[in-house]
């Protein structure tokens, strides 16, 4: 019993260290003339659906960790509702943020990137996806929301940076705000995970590029082979690094590897362009 008691104390102390990192009071800044009420409920993967119903599925797919909620109210009965979603790493945070972003939003300087839309201000910073919503008697004050966002960002103390791997995707003809990240089942294939993507447009043709970083070249080769196995493509006997196959669901798919990276182009028929983009991707990849 003494041993178990000791284990409990040790476990508690270990966990306490983590608690200190996420105490709700340390996440929400104070504002003059605004009262802050922090929701007692902390949402975790097991109960996120209680708050956002089926939308929780997408958050869980991006390694959602926890959600703290605070509400600021002023004397005029205006309210700013703030949700702090914490994900496992900045890549997953970028993934969930970008999955909800629309290119025609009004983008702002907040965190790594943010936008406003109909009284809402959303941004991501490090492991946090921050959602703010204005409601109440007055019209939404965007500049005030921006001020709140800045203070919340300061309080969260996260590093603002884009995933490095995005810089490997060619800029030529890239559709603004089309970048995304798929943590699992990329393209619907269970063999693909951790894929960064971007959309491209030339005239009226739209196509996509993707790039996946694995731990080593062997993993990259294994992923490629698993994909070939899934679509029943026999690549034996070839030494080429790039392949163009006809995927049963995506049509022409160009795919290749360079060391521990796997990358490709799809929704594009023009083989000259395909080669051009694959070459560019290959040149861009530095490690």
């Amino acid at each position: 019993m003494k041993t178990r008691h000791l284990h409990f104390i040790i476990a508690s102390l270990i966990l306490l260290t983590d608690i200190n990192a996420v105490t709700p009071e340390e996440l929400f800044p104070e504002f003059n003339d605004w009262d802050l009420k922090i929701d007692e409920t902390v949402y975790v993967p097991e109960n996120l659906w209680e708050l956002i119903n089926g939308a929780a599925e997408a958050y869980l797919a991006y390694d959602f960790q926890d959600l703290h909620i605070g509400e600021y109210t002023n004397a005029k009965n205006d309210m700013i509702h703030v949700e702090l979603y914490r994900h496992g790493d900045p890549e997953n945070t970028f993934g969930i943020y970008s999955s909800e972003r629309m290119p025609d939003y009004h983008f702002i300087t907040a965190g790594t990137e943010g936008y406003t839309s109909f009284g809402a201000l959303n941004f991501f910073t490090g492991n946090y996806y921050v959602k703010m919503l204005w409601s109440g008697a007055s019209e939404a004050d965007e500049s005030l929301l921006m001020e709140f966002a800045g203070k919340i960002e300061d309080k969260l103390k996260q590093e603002n940076r884009w995933p490095d791997i995005l810089s490997y995707l060619p800029e030529l003809n890239r559709i603004p705000k089309s970048e995304g990240y798929s943590n699992e089942n990329f393209l619907g294939y269970s063999c693909f995970h951790s894929a960064f993507t971007a959309g491209y447009r030339i005239d009226n043709r739209e196509f996509k590029l993707f790039i996946i970083q694995l731990n080593d070249s062997n993993e990259a080769r294994l992923m490629l082979n698993e994909y070939f196995k899934t679509i029943h493509f026999n690549a034996s006997g070839t030494k080429d690094q790039d392949h163009i196959v006809v995927d049963p669901f995506y049509g022409k798919m160009a795919i290749g590897t360079k060391d521990h990276f796997l990358f490709g182009v799809y929704n594009l028929d023009d083989e000259q362009l395909i080669t051009q983009y694959l070459d560019q991707l290959r040149r861009n990849i530095r490690f």
């Binding site: 966990l15 306490l16 902390v42 119903n53 939308a55 797919a61 619907g188 070839t238 669901f249």
Partner: protein
């Protein structure tokens, strides 16, 4: 339906066999993936509606996979479920882009709209939940979907009788139906399902109920009873979360046999269709195989029985233990404290809950044996002993 059936069969047999190498001189193998016994797709009428749907529909969870939706459609899935709030609206936009090229009467679409002002603790609606704001969101959904109407419009996430009966939202739903912007109206519910389903029956206007149902729910029998009553009253029943979270543990080391779990739900004839979230072609193929064969194999039955015995992580608050403790301890509160500590890492809150309940260290100390039998097979006495030790830690360490 015959064509759909053939398409589905072709998907199961050959979906991955069409790949062809066009460079590199590589050879293409034409192996087919595992064939599934085919005896005909099972369809059911959705209550008193004129919608006759295959028993498996699609919960559209990802907006970056339009080709997965197309594959599902080509394979015989007719009904697709989305929501105004999924992926910030991108989910509806993707579906709109996919279906704009398909005959409108060849598929059905359901979307869900959340009222604005919901008390998260009680599930009740407040004055901010207006008819106008609800319809404004719904009109935005129609624009995103590029459709004049949806087949089912749900009041999203109803958690109480009050929320369902809340006049402005009920009025918004019936107005949308009268205006032809939705063929049928319904509600979706994730909690207090029996109460909500009964309220739907009592309302007299709800056509379809979308409810959580899976073999892991402690109160699934009560839900099924209400489902039967609703079906008897002509209400269509759609189920979700049939896979019980897909894993039995947080570390994702114990997967649920999802196919078996789906069959278990659909074996109830009062369930008219189900909307498993499908995010890969493998999952699609697995779900399609259920469309025409609901019989559980011996192995599937064994899997469900074994999974049913896995308690999961935390108390789900069924409170059936309340009367069983001979010391009349507030077991539910203590289990809540346990969840705060081990689930949320919130030791301060865990301690507060115990303090409020007047619990000190090891309140079970003078009990020789525990009289509580937990419906989830938790060792309640052990959990109480574990969590009550937190009262030994000075409060300042928890601040």
């Amino acid at each position: 339906m015959k064509n759909l059936f053939l398409s589905r069969r072709r998907f199961l047999k050959t979906s991955f066999a069409g790949a062809a190498g066009i460079t590199i001189g590589a050879k293409v193998s034409a192996n087919s993936i595992k064939e599934v016994k085919t005896t005909g797709i099972i369809t059911r009428r959705l209550g008193h509606t004129d919608l006759v749907l295959p028993i498996v529909s699609m919960g559209v969870m990802r907006s970056d996979m339009p080709n997965l939706v197309k594959a599902a459609y080509d394979s015989g899935i007719k009904h697709f479920d989305t929501a105004h709030g999924y992926m910030g609206g991108n989910n509806e936009i993707m579906l709109g882009n996919v279906f704009k090229d398909y005959p409108r009467d060849s598929f059905t679409i359901a979307t869900k709209v959340h009222p604005d002002d919901i008390n998260r603790q009680t599930g009740e609606l407040g004055p901010g939940s207006t008819k106008e704001s609800f319809l404004k969101k719904f009109n935005t959904s129609l624009e995103r979907l590029q459709m004049d109407y949806v087949d089912i419009l749900y009041h999203h996430g109803v958690g109480s009788r009050q929320a369902l009966m809340y006049e402005p939202v009920l009025d918004a739903l019936t107005t949308a139906k009268k205006e032809g912007k939705t063929r049928y109206i319904g509600l979706s519910t994730h909690r207090n399902e029996p109460e909500v389903i009964q309220a739907a029956i009592d309302s007299g206007v709800i056509d379809v109920i979308l409810t959580t149902l899976n073999f892991k729910q402690q109160h699934h029998l009560q839900i099924k009873e209400k489902i039967a009553l609703a079906a008897e009253n002509g209400i269509g029943i759609v189920t979700m979360k049939t896979m019980a979270g897909a894993f039995l543990d947080r570390e994702k080391t114990k997967p649920v046999n999802c196919k078996a779990a789906l069959k278990w739900v659909l074996q109830d004839p009062n369930v008219h269709t189900s909307i498993p979230g499908i995010t890969s072609f493998d999952m699609l193929a697995e779900n399609l195989s259920v469309m025409e064969d609901l019989e559980l194999t011996e192995e599937e039955i064994k899997d469900l029985q074994e999974a049913g015995l896995v308690a999961g992580l935390y108390c789900d608050g069924c409170s059936s233990c309340s009367a069983l403790c001979r010391k009349h301890l507030p077991v539910h509160d203590i289990m809540r404290s346990y969840m705060y500590a081990y689930g949320y890492n919130d030791f301060k809150k865990a301690r507060e809950v115990l303090d409020e309940s007047g619990i000190g260290n090891d309140p079970c100390e003078d009990c020789e044996s525990c009289t509580i039998v937990c419906t989830k097979n938790f060792n309640v006495a052990e959990r109480i002993r574990d969590i009550s030790r937190i009262t030994n830690i000075p409060a300042e360490f928890l601040a």
